[in-house]
């Protein structure tokens, strides 16, 4: 049985006992969603925490029959997206997209502890930060669709459910987002080749590992 289906059943039976498992299973993805939408680790931390709290309170008010039907992945993503959206509206007029320096000083340098191999790890970080930054240049509606579909890994149907948009719209938005990112990446590489080495499949590594 799917983990989330089992978790929904446990939440319906005993919220307080099952909730720590929900936190454990979903905190990283809610944080990632918020971080990739907003760009700021501190904002992302607050959004992820707040999303979990709101989920708890919502379930506390639901009859078990409703909780058991919850599709947790898109449902929780929707909560985080809405919170991130509200926060972005508040911040929009007073801050530009986050700078690389800020990312490095705000916790991304934990990579140094995990892989203390000097310049190489610095490069990896930079590459991750680059793509994360380019993502922030996408228009919000498109960015959110790309983040849910390809960073979080929801299906098109789940992304559509989380965003309350038709599947066709989501598909179009994701595809436009990917096209736009490819253009941004090549523009970036042309402008500043040194800071943006190509990644070959053979040397590929999971950036998530570096960041973990």
């Amino acid at each position: 049985m799917d983990t989330d289906v089992r978790l929904a059943a446990r939440l319906a039976a005993d919220l307080d006992r099952a909730f720590p498992a929900l936190v454990n299973d979903h905190r990283d993805r809610l944080y990632t969603i918020a971080l990739r939408i907003l760009g700021d680790p501190r904002d992302a931390e607050e959004v992820a925490q707040d999303a979990l709290v709101r989920a708890y309170r919502a379930i506390a008010g639901y009859p078990p029959t409703r909780t058991i039907e919850l599709r947790l992945r898109p449902w929780l993503a929707a909560i985080a997206v809405n919170l991130a959206r509200n926060r972005r509206r508040r911040h929009d007029d007073r801050r530009p997209p986050v700078q690389l320096e800020a990312l490095l000083s705000d916790g991304f340098d934990r990579a140094d502890e995990a892989a203390p191999d000097g310049p190489a790890s610095a490069l990896r970080r930079e590459r991750v930060a680059d793509l994360a930054e380019l993502l922030l240049e996408l228009p919000p509606a498109i960015r959110v669709a790309v983040v849910l579909r390809h960073v979080d890994g929801l299906s098109v149907a789940e992304t559509a459910e989380a965003l309350g948009r038709p599947e066709g719209t989501v598909k179009a938005q994701v595809s436009r987002g990917l096209d736009r990112l490819r253009i941004l990446i090549s523009a970036e590489a042309t402008a500043n080749p040194a800071s943006h080495p190509q990644v070959s499949a053979g040397r590929g590594f999971a950036a998530a590992e570096v960041l973990a």
């Binding site: 307080d16 979990l52 309170r57 793509l131 990917l178 590929g204």
Partner: protein, 259 residues
């Protein structure tokens, strides 16, 4: 070339520990604690998103954590300090300001215990009430002993001032947080003279009236303490006061007590 989709998937990262901790504390499934100043020296105050959940003397942190876990079944971790608003509210309460509201997490309490603790919150600083008074006020006048038990189980002493509840015979009685000596120390810090109270009670005095207003009070009621000595009239029972034409104070609401 790594595909763009793969590179996007590699943007997944791990949440800082504060996300899980913060969420569990906010919904009341885990707690934090920090020391606050009290008349008994530092006390540890535990809290979560539902309110203050535990108070104990600040001795050995490991012992405090162990006691907390044994009673609540929840995890607890040390914090630097209380949230500023909670810290302010507790300071104001300890200073006698009953308008300062403090949320309490009383999950696990019986409705009787919760009623006893809520009533205790109404006792003003610098005054005491007998166990029997609490029992009468919560509509259960015969449950004097059960009131004593409920107060002994008060998870949040100082915040719920169970030290202001004394035995119906006027003696100070027991205290869950460090014994009777501590109860006397707090009451003294709040402006009472525990020795004088007990001396008067041992002479059989349970109520004080004023011969100008003909109102009878519990001995520590602010109105009783305002009566100048030429006008103080001492009673051993409410019945005796009534016979002498006195009516009960509406502020301290004295009740007949079986000692």
């Amino acid at each position: 070339m790594m595909s763009l989709e793969t590179r996007l998937a590699s943007l997944r990262t791990t949440a800082p520990a504060s996300v899980a901790d913060g969420a569990l504390v906010a919904v009341g499934l885990a707690d934090r604690y920090a020391p606050v100043e009290s008349p008994l020296g530092d006390a540890f105050v535990a809290w979560n998103g539902r309110g203050v959940s535990w108070v104990g003397l600040a001795g050995d942190p490991a012992e405090f954590e162990e006691t907390f876990r044994a009673h609540t079944g929840r995890s607890i971790s040390r914090a630097e300090a209380l949230p500023a608003d909670l810290s302010r509210a507790i300071t104001r309460r300890l200073a006698g300001d009953r308008r300062a509201t403090i949320k309490l997490d009383l999950r696990g309490a019986t409705s009787f215990e919760a009623a006893v603790w809520r009533k205790t919150l109404e006792i003003p600083r610098g005054e005491v009430r007998p166990y029997g008074w609490i029992a009468a006020e919560i509509g259960n006048p015969r449950a004097v002993r059960a009131v004593g038990t409920a107060l002994a189980h008060n998870p949040v002493p100082l915040v719920v001032p169970c030290h202001r509840v004394v035995r119906s015979d006027g003696t100070i009685g027991r205290y869950s947080m460090g014994g009777a000596g501590n109860k006397r120390r707090i009451l003294a810090a709040e402006g009472l003279d525990p020795e004088a109270l007990e001396t008067e009670a041992s002479a059989g005095v349970r109520f004080i009236g004023s011969d100008t207003t003909h109102i009878v009070c519990l001995p520590t009621c602010r109105h009783a303490r305002a009566i100048t000595s030429p006008h103080r009239v001492r009673f051993g029972s409410l019945a005796a006061a009534r016979e002498a034409g006195y009516r009960a104070c509406k502020r301290c609401r004295p009740v007949s007590l079986a000692a």
